[in-house]
């Protein structure tokens, strides 16, 4: 293998794949990055047991030549050290030669590194997926979905399917659900797919969701999502992201979402968020971060008290329909949900002080948040 490549291009590609490279693993070769030079592209692969990221550097990008392959071949380079070396190289261009017994020479400016590589045949091969179940959405939409759902997954790894986000697809409508069984976020969106494609019980680990958003952070084109077996592949022209899916079946969440509401509150999202954040300053050290709402005519009174610290009372203007109501809940759940709502106004629907309440932006019906109150006795 012998090639020359622009340093900045290589830095970008390496930092993409190192997100998936394991630092601690039972399979030593996974601490490396697999590099394959083909005639007109360079492929880098990083992997751990859950995720794999593969990026392709084309010979020409934006009508500028960035890669010159003189001799094709492949090798596995030591991941962490290689990433650091590449970032610190002095020249604009990098010359890269792989010689006998996977010895790697990297030259840039007046610096020359000699590294010990590993044979690429030992690197596990990527899963071959049957591409029957495919749908596409813009990278921007994908990032939004991740931002609006992944915060609600359970963090405790013992919680099984609740540590992931559920994807369901029917007639081109994608529904994403995340819950830790104390609060729930559900987002719906139209995606491009074959009309008869149906997906059920596809559960993507929460960690992979955030990595997915980071990996496609700079992309603007459409992302294809392929579901096959226990794998999900997200892919653009030059970037592939594989993740393992969670096993187990996700419970039906429709039955926990209340259909009607006795008390309805409409108010400004930002003002509400700020006042809940203020109230949570008093309660956040407590176990449940409890704040109390008293909903009455045209206002919501938010109170919070702690025996050691003190208390706070604040009133906010709101459009209220229905009888008055007192309810207590965990402020953190509301803050996290409100932060993902971009709409100016929000609609909150209560059925009682013991039952979950719904929060929805007023200008769209594809987004929904649910919070269970704290039962005060």
């Amino acid at each position: 293998m012998k090639l020359r490549i622009l340093q900045s291009v290589l830095v970008d590609a390496v930092s993409q794949v190192t997100k998936a490279v394991s630092t601690r693993t039972t399979i030593p070769i996974l601490t490396g990055i697999k590099v394959t030079a083909e005639e007109d592209q360079l492929i880098l692969t990083g992997s751990n047991s859950d995720m794999t990221i593969e990026t392709k550097i084309p010979r020409v990008k934006d009508e500028k030549e960035q890669l010159f392959v003189e001799k094709i071949g492949s090798v596995v380079v030591p991941g962490k050290i290689f990433a650091e070396i590449v970032r610190k190289l002095p020249g604009n261009e990098v010359e890269w030669i792989v010689g006998e017994r996977n010895g790697i020479t990297i030259r840039s400016g007046k610096a020359e590194f000699q590294l010990h590589g590993l044979p690429s045949e030992e690197y596990p091969s990527l899963p071959q997926l049957y591409e029957e179940q495919v749908f596409s959405l813009s990278a921007d939409l994908l990032r939004t979905l991740v931002r609006k759902t992944s915060f609600a997954v359970a963090v405790n790894e013992a919680r099984g399917v609740f540590t992931g986000v559920l994807f369901q697809l029917e007639e081109g409508l994608l529904t994403c659900v995340a819950t830790d069984s104390h609060r729930l976020s559900r987002q719906k969106t139209q995606v491009e797919s074959l009309p008869d494609l149906q997906l059920n019980n596809v559960i993507i680990p929460g960690k992979s969701m955030s990595e997915l958003a980071k990996t496609f952070a700079d992309e603007t084109e459409l992302v294809d999502l392929v579901v096959a077996g226990n794998q999900l592949l997200a892919r653009t022209k030059h970037l592939s992201f594989y993740t393992r899916l969670l096993e187990g079946s996700y419970p039906d969440t429709n039955r926990v979402i209340p259909q009607t509401g006795d008390v309805e509150v409409t108010t400004k999202t930002k003002e509400l968020l700020q006042s809940v954040e203020r109230a949570s300053l008093i309660s956040r050290d407590g176990r449940d971060n409890v704040i109390k709402w008293t909903v009455s005519d045209n206002q919501v009174q938010i109170t919070s008290a702690s025996q050691e610290i003190g208390s706070v009372v604040e009133e906010i203007q709101a459009d209220v329909k229905g009888p008055s109501l007192t309810i207590s809940f965990n402020a953190r759940y509301m803050i996290e949900a409100l932060r993902t709502i971009d709409s100016e106004e929000i609609h909150i629907q209560f059925t009682g002080s013991m039952t979950p309440f719904l929060m929805q932006p007023t200008d769209r019906n594809d987004s929904l948040h649910l919070i269970v109150p704290i039962r005060t006795r």
């Binding site: 926990v256 965990n330 269970v372 704290i374 006795r377």
Partner: protein, 132 residues
Amino acid sequence: MSIPHPLKGEWGGDLDKQAVFKRVAQVEEQIGELYKELGGLKSEIVHLMEENTRLTLENDQLRKLQQEVSGENASTYSGEVGQTTLHQSIGNHHLMNLYDEGFHICNVHYGRMRTDGNCLFCVAFLDKTKED
């Protein structure tokens, strides 16, 4: 257990690379086993802690019950009439009590301890039984 110094000790100062490597590999293996054992012990502790909480709760509940029973014995017998109508809701009451005692009653986590706060699925179930 003593580990000979890899450069001196048993090998008398000579750098027997093979032996050093073997020894290191051995130690690595041992550390791996220790790590596994530690993991096992940890999960055992978690198990014990869970059981402890459960027993404490059960104990409290039993004490309360005992007090109630002794209190009831002192007062008169009067609660036998109209019990047949109660039968349907007795099961639900039991479930509600279980939930209040800190257990999940939903089909998702049934019987497990509710470690932090309320559960969406349990609350939904309780609501449904209330409507019935």
